[in-house]
Symmetry: C2
Subunit: 655 residues, 2 copies
Amino acid sequence: MANIPVKKSAHPFDKTRFEALLNRRFFYAPAFEIYGGVAGLYDYGPPGSSLQANIIAEWRKHFIVEDHMLEIDSTIMTPAPVFETSGHVARFADWMVKDTKTGDVLRADHLVKGVLEARLAGDREVRGLVAQLQKEDEKKKKKKVAKTTAVQLPDDAVDEYEAILAQLDNYSGPELGDLCRKHDIRNPDTDNQVSEPQQFNLMFTSSIGPTGQHPGYLRPETAQGHFLNFSRLLEFNNGRVPFASAQIGRSFRNEISPRAGLLRVREFTMAEIEHYVDPEDKRHERFDEVRDVVLDLLDRDVQTSGSTKTRKISVGEAVTSGVIANQTLGYFVARIYQFLVKIGIDPSRLRFRQHMSNEMAHYATDCWDAEIQNSYGWTECVGCADRAAYDLTVHSNKTGHPLVVRQALKEPIVTERLVAEFNKKVLGKTFGKDAGVIQNVFAELDESRLLEIQIELANGGSTIVTTPDGRDLTLTREAITIERKTFKQSIREFTPNVIEPSFGLGRILYVLLEHNFWAREQDIERGVLSLPPLVAPTKVLIVPLSAKEEFDPLIQEVSSKLRKAGIFSRVDDSNTSIGKRYARNDELGTPFGVTLDFASVQNRTMTLRERDTTGQLIGDIDQVISVLIDLVNGTTDWADACKLLPAYDGIQAVD
Amino acid sequence: MANIPVKKSAHPFDKTRFEALLNRRFFYAPAFEIYGGVAGLYDYGPPGSSLQANIIAEWRKHFIVEDHMLEIDSTIMTPAPVFETSGHVARFADWMVKDTKTGDVLRADHLVKGVLEARLAGDREVRGLVAQLQKEDEKKKKKKVAKTTAVQLPDDAVDEYEAILAQLDNYSGPELGDLCRKHDIRNPDTDNQVSEPQQFNLMFTSSIGPTGQHPGYLRPETAQGHFLNFSRLLEFNNGRVPFASAQIGRSFRNEISPRAGLLRVREFTMAEIEHYVDPEDKRHERFDEVRDVVLDLLDRDVQTSGSTKTRKISVGEAVTSGVIANQTLGYFVARIYQFLVKIGIDPSRLRFRQHMSNEMAHYATDCWDAEIQNSYGWTECVGCADRAAYDLTVHSNKTGHPLVVRQALKEPIVTERLVAEFNKKVLGKTFGKDAGVIQNVFAELDESRLLEIQIELANGGSTIVTTPDGRDLTLTREAITIERKTFKQSIREFTPNVIEPSFGLGRILYVLLEHNFWAREQDIERGVLSLPPLVAPTKVLIVPLSAKEEFDPLIQEVSSKLRKAGIFSRVDDSNTSIGKRYARNDELGTPFGVTLDFASVQNRTMTLRERDTTGQLIGDIDQVISVLIDLVNGTTDWADACKLLPAYDGIQAVD
């Protein structure tokens, strides 16, 4: 219903024009630009901020409100012991290599990827050229081919490179070093060889307090803030699992050499969910609602076989067949899919890729990334990991604070077993300080040994036990009896497992912009951003014919009526033609525009324009506002609007 | 209309109970608590996060949407040169003293304040005791007084201490050192003397990139991110001023020894507005809308005279009489007042205090703080400063990037003045490389000297000029003529001034909680938080009689109907009495509750309860929902709701 038919242009995606638009209209820009900028740091301007705020608002609705999650807001600055325990100090690192002559630093896996991809592209170029020239004579062919700098690769090298790239994330640092040597991979900027890969920790460091004694890190993810508050959250949820906490906030990673715009940055806004679940029951009560959602999956086995071919499969089937480990993981994968498509991601360019074994974070037992295709390739935008009990266990062990669920059992578990009962008085008198030693020895004995002792005591009246330091002590039945006893357990205590969907909002924002960018046939210089009304920075543009004061009361009226309906509009009364003002707002992704002219003042009519079709309708001001509210809220679409209001012939608004 | 009559208890504010409530219901808690915590770092739990999100949402509406501000989102991590230019590296510091024996670090002004306030409190105690015991005999009196550790001060010491406290923010570091010596102020924890005050920079440091070559700071305010983007923002606004940018985000200050809960923290969320205005015209077009707002003002002169007595005055009068420097500053002060009162701050405990000259930040020319009274005293929660052209000027000077407004003049400014015209050929031939020197000399001459030369040339045909290195050169009228010329200036270029309202959201959140906390006469152990529905974390509590499945369809229906109206509800189906569940939600500030019981299932009726009065009404489910929506949106109040729905006698819901 809410989908407006998007008329994407026939032109291929033009990255230069796209980036020029984002920069010109200040969606975002390099931070500290007038100081020369800093790689990997970006500021969002007004349209970028609004787009981000709208994505966040929809995320809150789709996840937090819909599933009654507990939202928290924890600090970024974190004392070092927390990340020592979580494993980040030891393992949250990338492999970097240095140019052996200039000392320039490069990320090892990115270097391998870049060089091999370039070689494959060159190979394709030469092979294409050769095929194309097949019919021309041999001399000419050689000449033309010789002109390109590209090199044709042996067939087996092509296969090898493709296999390496398919499992690139699976290599360790030393393996990346081997690849560089074996395939003579050099720094492409200088053609110099590179050093052996070294680990570089990605956390920004700082220190807390005036004395400099307390080292701290800026969090690289929001997750630890959830885990440390687990006991309080559980109590807030009346002691019950499953439940989820959610947090939206800034995180930091000191990337080695960020070069891919918003896709690899040093400071970014994340949205993370930690869903706590009984490790013995990972079903999800709303799984039926998503069972039939069909996804493009790229599982672990396919990748390790050297392929990147996805298959379409329903979430229900994926969980049943064990491709996705459990219902809760499947539920979130499907909900992630629904969210991304709702805000405007092209579903045909969205896949879920399973992590390979070496690639997985140190805490995860299974992990699926939502990867979205864009001009940089396939980019991870959401991770969805089953972290098992890792985090809660390590923090609990370190601090001594129990991070567990205590659950009253509906039916107590009754067990019978043999236990040793001591006559402490006799034991103390006979053995003195060895009494404790004896009790410890018995606590370690298993059922069959206890049975033997029981028989010995019944038969001979005594038994012999060996202490840890090798002394044999004789106990009589005055000191000890072995009896069968009944035990009733009415509380079950367990560390919950954690399913973690984790969203990189900046990445999602960037690919969303790419997926919705196009240009009209007749005006290829200017772009259009066909953002869904749900996330568009401005929903409605109000265009008075001119900045004359006579339009002011109507502008006030329309914008105030829209505001009351919760719709954010902007007025553009700048001194250019209406057409130019609309074109400018097509670039900002504003889905609807209304024009106020002399007819509006005289007859209270207003025209309504739709961004993608540029179709225009006309009607009474209040009637147009009412249609507009339905369009923005997604309760009607443009086709229906065209039935409600007459088309506008366009004569009136020309200026 | 929207105000629900709040029945505050007769009991005085009980801080212990208040803090216990905030902790128990997880409004917020010390971050990393299970690791022993870190002073000045707090995590917000679910109700605290929601309250914060609601305050931010209202802030966006009240400021950004209402005044069409341009929202941005800039980075926290900032390269050092930015804060070197802004002056923060040199001057964003507090004075600290060290305990001369233990080395403990204390903030100097807080030490002076704490010790003098304690002495004054002790003095009042003794004087009160003496007055009370006036009629008892002399021996008893002495005995009783001797029991207290408090000391009575000489009358002139009381006056002196009070004068010091009134202008505490005005002292420099060395002056604070003098005060410590003169009044024997020691570390109250150890009774040791303290060192001379030293400066401690409050910015957290880090370093950007893998080589460690790029020092960075975590921003202590969001403002610089606005200023560095000024040119882009101006262009986005079609080159026009006034306009404002706005940003909500995290900032960091490495406080010396934070001890006042949420009021002094090392990491906090701010909301900042930078309003750019023509320095020659600081009127505000919407000033008339706030002219009659009456404020409690505490101006600079009153404070330097040693008093803290405020006066009530309208914003219009304050601007007219020059107490507040200009309309734009006045407009924002009034808008800040309106915002704070709207979200639930008690207006009788809100004052605006002007900064004294030494206290003002290095960039400001005038500054007013919104101070709110709470159990820690009067706390700055919003600052509203006129930063003049300081920031844009220093960044522009440093980077060479012009941060100016270029304005087409409606009427060009026409001026006439004498100018020297050179015959470059003759000049070059005669003077060689001195030709340039001569032109520079003439460029510096004033109108009257040029007139003299004009006469000399007319009379004698030549004139003599002296070069900067003392040589006299003779110029003839072949080389130079002095003429009167007309100049037309059609563009005016200027650096705008900046008015900056800056909000500490955590402080506002804390005092808001204090102002709305009370306890019922009959149940002093449990608190009530009378938060306005506008900001209350949860608007409606849905209470089914029990967790039985038969209530599920109705729960779903009510919560889904409320959600469609944009109202956030929560279900409490825990296994306790309805009364206890309501009491628990009074502590969370939930303004309304509805109960679903067997009558609901049979007759579709539902009861509605109001938090502050505990009054209950009953009606058809849809009718109750409709009233509820109006109550939450503030379009009706409880008194009116009582006219629409019959009172509920309370028999039905008892369980």
